[in-house]
């Protein structure tokens, strides 16, 4: 069976244990699952924040994540993938994003998880706005996110 990617964009929180169970249920070809969770911090550049609001481009966001999961599956021998990205208002301590990568062996799963997060941060059409005592502000993109994605480009 070829690997299948589950991609969801949702307001609701996700349960990591539930998502791992759904990915591995009934499977005996999976030897490793790497899980990455992105969590809302309580501060941005040293200043406390009350919440983040995530906006996305419906249609393109799913397409762009699919493009990256396809790329990951073509580069590493993966046996399953799950990407869940939340949108809407998220308060400090809450989950934002989940990437699960399954493979027969750990090396491919670790590498593909890191690749996916680097690419999603730089290329998936999501935008964060922060709420703080100073009002609301769109968070600026960081150059090192583009650099992190660029290091995976084949030369």
């Amino acid at each position: 069976m070829s690997a299948h990617a589950t991609i969801r964009i949702q307001q609701a929180d996700f349960d990591i244990a539930h998502e791992i169970a759904a990915l591995t249920r009934g499977r005996i070809d999976i030897g490793a699952v790497v899980s990455f969770s992105g969590i809302c911090r309580g501060s941005e550049n040293g200043a406390p924040i009350a919440a983040l609001t995530l906006e996305h481009y419906p249609g393109m966001a799913e397409a762009e994540i699919k493009r990256h999961t396809d790329e990951a599956m073509s580069r590493w021998p993966l046996t399953g993938l799950t990407v869940v990205h939340r949108v809407g208002r998220i308060t400090p301590g809450e989950n934002i994003v989940l990437v699960l990568v399954a493979s027969a062996h750990r090396q491919a799963a670790f590498k593909a998880a890191e690749f996916l997060m680097d690419y999603l941060k730089a290329n998936a059409p999501f935008w964060k706005r922060e709420e703080s005592a100073a009002g609301t502000n769109w968070i600026e993109a960081r150059d090192h996110d583009d650099a992190a994605a660029a290091r995976w480009t084949k030369s």
């Binding site: 481009y57 990205h85 941060k121 999501f126 935008w127």
Partner: protein, 83 residues
């Protein structure tokens, strides 16, 4: 063609989407940005620094020199900050 705006580009223009009919000599994404920027103050403000604006045609990222003819939907937005 349908144009969509996201994040602070949307806020500055004051709308999320609209349908526009640019003249035939507007051929590329950066020419479309230039044409939109001349539509009024809110557009001029949104597009005041064209090099930071990212664009997508029909849900795929494109460069400023991309040809817009045949596009169903073009989107403009700031650099992405998801994940």
């Amino acid at each position: 063609m349908k144009i969509k705006y996201f994040a602070w580009v949307r806020e500055r223009i004051g709308k999320a989407e609209e349908t526009v009919e640019p003249p035939a000599d507007v051929r590329t994404v950066d020419e479309l940005i230039g044409w939109l920027a001349r539509r009024g103050e809110t557009y001029a403000y949104a597009f005041e620094t064209p090099r930071v604006i990212r664009a997508a045609i029909d849900h795929a990222h494109v460069k400023p020199d991309a040809i817009i003819s045949g596009a169903r939907e073009i989107a403009f937005f700031p650099p992405m900050t998801g994940g």
